[in-house]
């Protein structure tokens, strides 16, 4: 019977056949809403509640195609700093940022920005173009 390690290997295998999207969002109801939309659209979805969790996931799952992250989050780093780290450490991972306010997103290299509340379908359409 497979243990958690086997599960991780299985996730890695799945990630090779389907795009894996890592959602980073501290608001649980927003996170599960967008995660549900992405799963329905056929993506493998990993949910992280803050940037620290996201970095933990990225350190263990090598095939994350895209990171979609809120900017304002509690924890040791916010979404902008997370984006900078991901761009530097995982340069093939696409980065989409979201926020409830208009921050200076031009200070960081990214592949899209959506102001909250956003239309999940528009985000998915954008991500499809990024990943194809």
């Amino acid at each position: 019977m497979g243990g958690p390690g086997d599960n991780r290997l299985r996730l890695e295998k799945q990630a090779r056949t389907r795009h894996t999207v890592l959602i980073v969002e501290d608001e649980i109801l927003v996170r599960l809403f967008i995660a549900e939309h992405f799963r329905t659209a056929g993506y493998e979805v990993i949910e992280a509640a803050n940037a620290d969790e996201a970095l933990d996931v990225l350190a263990h799952i090598s095939s994350v195609s895209l990171l979609i992250s809120d900017i304002r989050m509690p924890g040791s780093i916010d979404g902008l700093r997370l984006a900078r780290i991901v761009r530097s450490e995982y340069p093939t991972t696409r980065i989409v940022l979201t926020s409830g306010h208009l921050p200076n997103v031009d200070s960081v290299d990214h592949d899209g920005f959506f102001l909250k509340p956003y239309d999940a379908r528009k985000v998915i359409d954008h991500i499809k173009t990024l990943l194809n």
Binding site: P4, N7, L29, H37, T40, E47, E53, D56
Partner: protein, 135 residues
């Protein structure tokens, strides 16, 4: 929300603060056919139970979690606010495992657990609830 899910799909709320533990068990349970909601702590879990539109059938929670409540606190909250909702606890601390008696119907699962053991627990609770409902 997903509108192609079967109407009778049961929903499991997984509460675990370690993303590298939460992610594989959540994915395993999705592969078993459940709708799975992931919460990173007890506060997120209570938010889901109070405000999310999907009714939760079973809560599977870690015991040792940071935040305003640990797994015991969450179990007590559920007993008070959602009586009848089944909760399965999982933990590594023997003291915690003893203290959990009385808060949930089954003994807590010792961590690290096999995903299959979690699924067996869930199936048993769902079957017992169905039997109770039809009697």
């Amino acid at each position: 929300m997903a509108d192609d899910q079967p109407a009778n799909q049961e929903t499991i709320l997984v509460v675990e603060d370690d993303v590298l533990v939460r992610m594989p068990i959540a994915q395993y349970l999705r592969d078993c056919g459940y709708k799975v909601i992931e919460a990173a702590n007890a506060d997120e879990a209570t938010t889901v139970l109070l405000h999310h539109e999907t009714p939760v059938d079973i809560v599977f929670s870690d015991i040792d979690m940071p935040g305003s409540m640990d797994g015991f606190g969450l179990a007590k909250w559920i007993r008070e606010h959602r009586p009848g909702l089944d909760i399965i606890l999982a933990g590594t601390v023997p003291r915690a495992v003893n203290a959990a008696k009385g808060l949930c119907d089954d003994s807590p699962l010792p961590k690290p657990y096999e995903p299959q053991a979690v699924h067996d627990h869930i199936r048993r609770l769902l079957a017992a609830r169905k039997a109770k409902g039809s009697s």
